[in-house]
Every structure is written in C-alpha cells, then in structure tokens.
C-alpha cells in the first residue's frame, strides 16, 4: 500500500522540545560527576552545573533564534543569505563532520561501557556494530518516527534516573556534602566549562527548526526544555556526591553507573542494579546517537540534494564505524571526546553567534 500523508508527519515544536533532552542526555552524564568532583570541593559543583546549564539554555535560545529567523529554510540556504554560498556549504559540511564524529564517539563509548559492565569476553567491535546497526535502522525510517522514539524513551530514561537517585538515599550522608563553598574561583570556572560542554547538542536545532511549520515559539520552548537535562544532571551529581563524597567520585571512571550499583530495590528481586540501569540507559544513548546521525544525514543531504537519504546513510555508516573503532584505549576515547567537544564549541556556539550578529547587522531575514 502506498504511504498516505494525512497522519501526523509534521514535526512541531513539541517534538523539538523532546529532542533537546534526548540528544543531551547520553554518555556524558555517566562520567560528569567525576569531572565536576575533580574540580570542586564538596557539593559545590551544583553551582557550576546550574551555571553551565544556564549558559546552555542561553545558547539553545541563540541557536533556535537564528534558525527561527528563517522559517522553513535549511541551514545551507539561510547561511548563504547571511554569508555567501561557498562559505555556507563549507560550514554545513564542517558541522556535519562534527555530528558524524559525535555519532562515532557515542557508538564507541557505549561499546566500552558495555564491555566494562555487561560483558567481558565479547569483542568490542561486535558490541559496537550491533548497536550501530540498530541506529542505522532507526535513521533509515521516517524522521517523524525518530522523534516519536524520543517521546517513547524519554519518560523511561527519566524514570530510571529518578529511581537511581531515590533508592540510593539510604547511603546518602550529609557529611559527604561538606565543605560548602570552599572551591576556588578557578575550580568553579573550569567545572562550569565542563558542565556546559556536557550540555552540547543544541546544534541540532540549526537543522531541525527548518522542519517546523511555525517556529516562532521554538527558541523559548526549546530553551525551557533544556531545564530537564540540567535538573537530571543535578540530581545525579548530588546523589553521587552524597553517596561517595567528592574524593571517591573523582576517582571513578563512571560514577553514575557506580551509583546505580548501590541501588537496593526492596523485595530483593534484582541484584546488581547497575546492569539494569545501564541497559535502560542504552535507550538514552540510542536517542542521542540516532539524532546526531540523522542530523549528519540531513546536513549532507541539504548540500548534496540529488543523493537519496539511504545512499548517504550507507556511505557514511562505514566511516562512522571506522572512526569509532580507531581509538585504542580509554585515553584515546577521552581524547576523541575532548576533540569533538572543542570542535562543537567552535561550530555550534561561535558560528551561530556570529551568524546571528551578522544577520542582525545586515538585516537579513527569512520570509515569514
């Protein structure tokens, strides 16, 4: 039967509101408490998470405002209006490389964490490949379907985060939170930087806002949607510090998973809750990976209009997989992560701000 288009295939601002937390919550939160704990004393990191989150909300607003200025126009088209076509094409390709690398990073991270907590003998290549095949299948489907997946998975993800924070309350010690406000200014600054970097992902709005029919309300709504991951991170961070204290948390590779280890479900039906937690968290990582791969495809397709979506997916997939398999050890992976983060700061923070300023100065605007 031919497909029939009266069903809800439109992507609205509601879908984007769910996409923001979906892309942000991923592997980052598994290690975030460590990074923050290394820089700050006691539970002081909450200030940095709030500051970083606030900054991320602001950037979400900036990016969405830029994209919403040109309703139903793809990034390439509106960037061409602002800064000539060749530069726009180069920018698009550079940003798509960022999302491509990010996809690889997520695939590799999930394989590494799985190997650490779920299997010890299965080769990492196979773990990564099986996950990545699922991502490819997801991206090959309709884009509206992908957003629906966000809607389906997000409540489960938030629920499991809540379970982990609540059921570890038994181990929570107020003493671990002290000392209060003993962190140096530099500590706050660098923790804020790390927390902000863990909220990257709003770059997807550069491309997705073009799909929305009426993007007027998008900047405000998506910025507000950022509160959800900020709150989740804060919850997990405080729980980690409360349970482990900052010194221990700073020495764990994935403190969030370790936190899940401490969960005790009444009734003793399951032990080793961290396996369940991580298995559910795979859904979150899937959302992140699929969205970022989808944006890669969308961005490249906006430049190479003649190539079909599937052709692009199948061309990019081997590259993503090879990049994901390239790092040899944990250090390499963190290095890749670091590289991607700074790369993203240039292209999804600096570039949108510049584009918005130039657009304002030159008075370029899309037709409403």
């Amino acid at each position: 039967m031919k497909d029939f288009e009266y069903g809800d295939e439109q992507i609205g601002e509601k879908e984007l509101r769910f996409a923001i937390p979906s892309i942000v919550i991923g592997v980052g939160v598994l290690s975030l408490p460590r990074v923050i704990a290394q820089e700050t004393n006691g539970v002081d990191g909450w200030v940095s998470i709030l500051l970083g989150g606030g900054l991320a909300m602001f950037m979400t607003w900036i990016v969405a405002t830029l994209a919403a200025r040109f309703p139903k126009t793809t990034f390439v088209d509106y960037a061409s209006l602002i800064v000539s076509k060749p530069i726009a094409i180069i920018l698009t390709l550079l940003i798509s490389i960022q999302f491509l690398l990010f996809t690889s990073y997520e695939v590799r991270s999930i394989a590494s964490v799985s190997k650490l907590y779920l299997f010890d003998r299965t080769p990492i290549e196979f773990i990564a490949l099986s996950f990545f095949l699922v991502v490819i299948y997801g991206v090959s489907g309709s884009r509206a379907g992908l957003f629906r997946l966000n809607l389906l998975f997000l409540p489960i993800i938030l629920f499991i985060a809540l379970v982990v924070s609540i059921f570890t309350l038994g181990w929570f010690e107020m003493n671990n939170l002290a000392p209060f406000f003993q962190t140096s200014f530099d500590g706050y600054r660098s923790a804020t930087k790390f927390s902000f970097l863990s909220f990257l992902g709003f770059g997807i709005l550069l491309f997705y806002v073009a799909l929305v029919e009426q993007p007027k309300a998008v900047p405000k709504r998506t910025a507000v949607a950022m509160i959800l991951p900020v709150f989740t991170y804060l919850l997990i961070y405080v729980a980690c510090i409360g349970v482990f204290a900052d010194s221990a948390a700073g020495n764990m590779i994935y403190p969030t998973v370790e936190l899940a280890k401490e969960v005790e479900i009444p009734g003793e039906f399951f032990e080793r809750f961290e396996s369940i937690f991580f298995v559910i968290w795979i859904m979150a990582i899937f959302n992140t990976t699929a969205l970022s791969f989808d944006v890669t495809v969308l961005a490249i397709r906006s430049v190479l209009k003649k190539m079909s979506k599937l052709a692009i997916i199948f061309t990019l997939s081997p590259i993503v997989y090879l990049v994901a398999m390239y790092p040899q050890n944990f250090k390499d992976i963190s290095l890749l992560g670091k590289f991607i983060t700074y790369y993203s700061v240039v292209f999804t923070v600096a570039v949108p701000i510049l584009l918005l300023i130039i657009a304002k100065l030159r008075g370029v605007k899309g037709d409403v």
Partner: protein
Amino acid sequence: MLRSRMKKGKGSTRSNEEDFSVNLTKQLDDNLKNLNKMLDNPSDLVIRELTIGSANHRCAIVFIDGLIDKKVVDGKILKNLQTQLQNKTLPSSDAAILDEVQREIISVSHVEQGNTLDDVSNSILSGGTAFYLDGINKVLIMNTMGWETRSIQEPITESLIRGPREGFVENIGTNMVLIRRYIRDSNLRFTTYKVGRRSKKALVLAYVDGIVHPDIVKELKRRLESIDMDDAPESGYIEQWIEDSFLSPFPQIFHTERPDKVSAALLQGKAAILLDGTPFVLTAPSTLGNSFQSPEDYYERWFVGTLIRMLRYGAAFIAMFLPALYIALVSYQPGMIPSKLAFSIAATREGVPFPSVVEAISMGLTMELLREAGVRLPKTIGQTIGIVGGLVIGDAAVQAGIVSPIMVIVVALTAIASFALPSYSIAISFRMIRFGFMIAASVLGLYGVILLYIVLNIHIVNLKSIGVPYTTPFAPSFVKDWLDLVVRAPLTMLTERPKYTKPNDSKPMDKGEKKQ
C-alpha cells in the same frame, strides 16, 4: 487451492459471454433458453411457467431452489399471480401489465425492474426471484432471499463476564441490524461494495458521518475499491489487502465479533468493515493501545477497569520478555539474580544437558504445539490435550532431566500471560516476537534484549494503520487520550473522543446530556 481464488485471469471469468445475448429479448422462450444456457441447466434452477389474465398471457417465475424463502415465493408471489389475475382483463400493452404486476400483485417489499441477463443471473444467484413476461424485454426482480443461517449467539472468541451476550453472525444483514441497534443515529452510514469477481460478496463500510475524519473514510474507500480477487471468504482477506504494511508482525486492523465493540469504535471516530459470510468485523484505524482495551474495562467500575488494564500491560511484558530475561540472566548476568535464588536455579539446572536458550525455545515450541493441537481438536478432546501436555509432558520432561523446573514455570507463565490479552491476533504477534527476544538474549544477553526492544520500537513508530501512527496516543502524544490508555479514568472524565483519529465532532456526548 486458496491461491486459485486470487487468480485474476480476466478472460476466464467471462469465457462463455459470447454465447448468449446480454440484453433480454421479447420472447419468453428465448429468455429462458438463454438463462439455462448461461447457467448450464443446473438441477436446482426452478422455472415455473404460468398464464395470467383472461387472455392467458404467458409468464414465468425463476429462482434457485434453496436460496429463496419458499413461503414468500409461494405465498406472496405465485399465489397472488394465480388467484388475483385469474380472470382479470389485463391492459393491452405488455409494459402496462408488468407495471400492474409490480404495483398491485406482488407482495414483496424489494422489487425492481431489470433488462439484462446479468441482472437476472446476479439476483437469482444471490437468492432473488425473477418474473418474466412474454412479449417484453424486461423482468421483475424480487428479493426473496432466505436460507438457513446461524442464530445470534454469544461470541466464542471474545467472551466477557459482564456485557452484552450478542455476537455477530455470518449474515451481513443481521450484522448491520446489530450495529444499528446500538447506534440509532441518522448519521450512521453504510457504504456497500461488492468484492470478489466470482463470489460477488457484499462488503459494507460503516462509519458515523460527522464523527469520523473524512480523510480516513476517503482512504479506506480508495483501498477497498482497489480490491481485486475472485473470492473473499473471510474478512482476513480484506484486512490483508488493505493493511499498511504486510512486513509487520503486528496486526494493523483489528477484528472483533462483538457489536458493542464495533459500535464503541464507530463512536470513537473509527470505521468498521463488514463482510458477508463472516462474523468477524474489522475496525480501523487501530493502534497499539487498542489491543489492551476490552469492552469490560468500561462496563466495570473504573478502579477495576484500570487495574485490569495495568495487569494486561504487565501480561504483555511477561509474554514478550520473560523467557528472554531468564536466558539473559542465567547465561550472561547470573550475578544479577539474588544469590539464594541463583543457587536454587543452579541446583535445578544441574544435569540439564542443554543451554538455557535451547531449553527455552524447545519448551516454547512445545507450548505452541499444544495450543495448536488444542484448537484443532474437538472441545472435549482439547481439554485432554491440555492435561496431557501441561501436566504429563511438563512433569515427565523435568523428571527426565531434559528441562529445569524453573524453565517450565517461565514458559507456563509466558503462555498464560499471552492468553490474558484481549486481542487474540496481537497475542500471536507477541508470542512470535518472544522467540526473537530469546535468540537476542542468547547472543548478547541483556544488551541484545534492549537492542531488539529498540528495533521493535523503531518498527512500531514507523508503522501506521490507515495513515494513523500505530503508537498514538503515546507518540505522537495526545495527553488527554492517556486517560483511556494505561488507566481507564472514570467515565465522567472520558468526555471527549480520542484525539488521534482527529474526529470532526470531538464534543462530549455524555456531558451534553448532563447539561440539559
């Protein structure tokens, strides 16, 4: 054999068309001869010739024995013709005689005139009676249908504790009446189609105008008109022809035997498809959430309805995941099982020669085998199968050390859970997918289970039923519809029709009454 029904040879359906004229002639004898030739002198074709009026005008009534109601043909047609026109002087023109017969003599409500041989053959093959008059190339076609039918009984496949006991029957007329008895609304529409090149069965698309979204009706009509097969013996043929994706393990159009379910669906802005010859009525569009709803949820008080519905979601989870989780935990993550339980599982698995996945799949297949055998056998023996299979084989397998007792518990629990789902066809899908999860669990443990779960979700978010996403109202989410999804909110709160079918008239029905 079944496939031959779908054969589309255009020539073969009308192979002997050239042998006789399609239009009727004025001679009675020629007409009768042509009819006989077309049907090849069947033994059950009854041609009763008689004369009417004082001028002994020749005429004949024709029908097929067994398809007609004898009382009507004998008492209302033949008797009237013979007694009332005995010595009457008839009008001179033949057309006037035919008119008079139609107007004054025949006491049958459905009478119309026809003038082709096809009209005659189509009608008498579906239980009509034709009245031929010599000297005119027209006939009267009377609806005298009447054959043995099953009376209305309680639906066998969907029994309820509380609720109406009526079920649909094979006769489409009766089924339409059953729906009309539930919805006495002038906007209830029945659009009739004929399906099957040879069977020419009646198919009715039912909907309530003003509630249903017009695009749904338009799309359904387009798909129904595209049907081209020889025969549609059951509504399953229609379902498979018009469904959105034949690659999906999920049924996208649900079927039911219950008129109350169909009328509820119609009032929610769905459409129903009735086919002559089957008690199963299709309702579309259907979504995943619908498969967890049973009419009883609404007949019982809302606490009961809500709890039972949650129980069903739990049952669906068990039916799909339990064996897979068992396999994953036992073979990959034994550390996750509480140590006491782990010891007892290990103790019972002592001596079992197979890995848990082989154990689970073989027991699962045995379970399906027992179910299939129980369905095919007569009811009385079917119970024996249950006892022999469930007790004897299960117990003996454990005694023989082929499977562990825990595995028997897991498989039995899975089977019971899958039978607790109100929709039989979705339960089959779940049981099918269960095997996929078992294999995924045996390859990658919990990781495999979650990956397959994500794949399944990707599949259902891309799936549609007549253009409506299968996952509505979860996603795309319509928060108000959630009141009747996992929970069943009190009826006084369920005042609006579901949003996902985009009903034209979403106004509350029950609240309207309250305000007056």
